[in-house]
């Protein structure tokens, strides 16, 4: 089906983009890769009056890393760029895995990590690893910028914390600690091209004795938003991560999950499988931490 009509605006700066969005309010949508936005327009036959393309805004496609400041992912950085970035692969492996597991080659070349978050699908593949790595989002508007923990960005299916006239400018991840490992596990009905039916990201940091210094477990596609399981972190921290600890943390993941039944899976199956994925992700994260 052909797309419904709209007007295309192509601002040259971030402030100009925010001004256009503020001016047109609900009649305008920002566009990064367009893989969610244009698909939805085609499906629903409805379009905003104005599409504000971000492509011409300079500097937004950068991915920067240094040991002191951590990782910054600009709003236009593609899933493919992030998946192949050597520092992401090395220091934030769960994110590299998730970006590489999202969609297809073509869609990864077009779609952005920021768009994946802003679209706020409960099954967004990059959300669990970014939550597990403690990401913050930098939200920009003409009046200034605010920083929000990613766990406070998601508000419900398709809903996020962005205000009218506000854009996500950058995703920021803290520097990787010593002996830290992370892993992403996803499962879908058919191949990887399918949207995830359930997914888990785990990150653990160990001390020299193998005691868990910090841990994060994040779930995708089993609640109205991607979800951090704080109880699992509390359980794991301050002790060695034994098989019993992994099983107990996985049980907490199952308890935290509030899945629905849909075309991709039943709620009961999702509940069951989320525990399996959580245990796998935790074990793999521990192995990677030990290998450092």
């Amino acid at each position: 089906m052909a797309l419904p009509r709209f007007e295309y605006l192509s601002p040259g700066t971030l402030d100009e983009a925010c001004a256009l969005l503020a001016e047109h309010g609900a009649d305008a949508r920002p566009m990064a890769g367009g893989t969610d936005l244009l698909l939805r327009m085609g499906r629903t036959g409805r379009a905003p009056s104005f599409v504000v393309g971000l492509r011409r805004v300079p500097g937004l496609a950068d991915v920067r890393f240094d040991r002191e400041h951590g990782l910054s992912i600009g709003a236009l950085a593609s899933l493919a760029t992030v998946a192949a970035h050597p520092d992401v692969i090395r220091h934030y492996p769960a994110l590299a895995q998730a970006a590489a597991a999202t969609a297809t080659v073509q869609i990864r070349n077009m779609g952005t990590v920021a768009g994946n978050l802003c679209n706020a699908s409960p099954s967004a593949d990059t959300a669990p690893p970014l939550l597990a790595h403690g990401a913050e989002v930098l939200l920009h508007r003409r009046e200034g910028e605010r920083r929000l923990s990613l766990s406070r960005f998601f508000r419900g299916p398709g809903r996020n914390a962005l205000e009218p006239g506000e854009l996500l400018r950058e995703i920021h991840l803290p520097p990787p600690g010593e002996r830290t490992g992370s892993d992403y596990q996803r499962i879908s009905q058919r191949s990887q091209v399918d949207i995830a039916a359930a997914s888990v990201a785990a990150r653990v940091a160990l001390d020299e004795e193998g005691i868990c210094r910090s841990a994060r477990l994040a779930l995708g596609a089993v609640a109205p938003t991607p979800l951090l399981v704080d109880e699992a972190a509390a359980l794991l921290e301050g002790r060695p991560i034994t098989d019993e600890q992994v099983a107990a943390a996985a049980a907490l993941a199952v308890r935290a999950a509030r899945p629905i039944s849909d075309v991709r899976a039943s709620a009961a199956w999702r509940k069951k499988v989320i525990g399996v994925l959580a245990a796998r992700a935790l074990r793999a994260a521990v192995e990677k931490a030990l290998a450092q």
Partner: protein, 158 residues
């Protein structure tokens, strides 16, 4: 909505076209420029039939606005063997390995393969299969397509 004037650079040739902003690249390539080698299957980003290379990267032209492709380097299947006489090694391999049946998926398959080989001239079978995960074929069962690309990779190795 008023049409806008854009310049598309397709297979090295410049085309001035007037397009409405909601028109996608596949539509403009086929309907305005007559480049019907680019096929359209699903229009939802799933099948890969509409794959073209944009600045060297495989994208779904059905989810790309023509206005956003303006000024960038677009390669379609027509640009792979410009004279139309000498086939590109990938095209030759597809013919030789029986990787073309109805042919509807072939332009997208070949451009996805070209994107892969540009990044990685000697991919493994597994890497080839992954690189084609966004391209569907209703006819061949994929094995011969993978064989054809592997044959080109093999030549790159020696």
């Amino acid at each position: 909505m008023p049409k806008v004037a854009i310049t598309l650079r397709v297979n090295g040739d410049l085309h001035e076209v007037m397009v409405a902003p909601h028109r996608t690249l596949d539509e403009v390539l086929r309907d305005e420029l007559g480049l019907i080698g680019t096929k359209v299957g699903c229009r939802t980003g799933d099948c890969g039939a509409c794959t073209v290379l944009l600045d060297g990267k495989a994208v779904s032209s059905c989810l790309t606005l023509a206005v956003e492709a303006a000024g960038r380097e677009i390669l379609t299947i027509e640009g792979l063997a410009p004279g139309g006489e000498e086939l590109h090694p990938l095209q030759r391999a597809f013919v030789e390995h029986g990787a073309v049946q109805c042919g509807y998926c072939t332009p997208g398959m070949i451009l996805a393969a070209r994107h892969l080989l540009d990044k990685n001239p000697t991919p493994t079978h597994e890497e080839i299969r992954r690189a084609l995960s966004g391209n569907l074929c209703r006819c061949t069962g994929y094995a011969k397509i993978v064989d054809a690309i592997a044959a080109v990779a093999e030549k790159n190795r020696s």
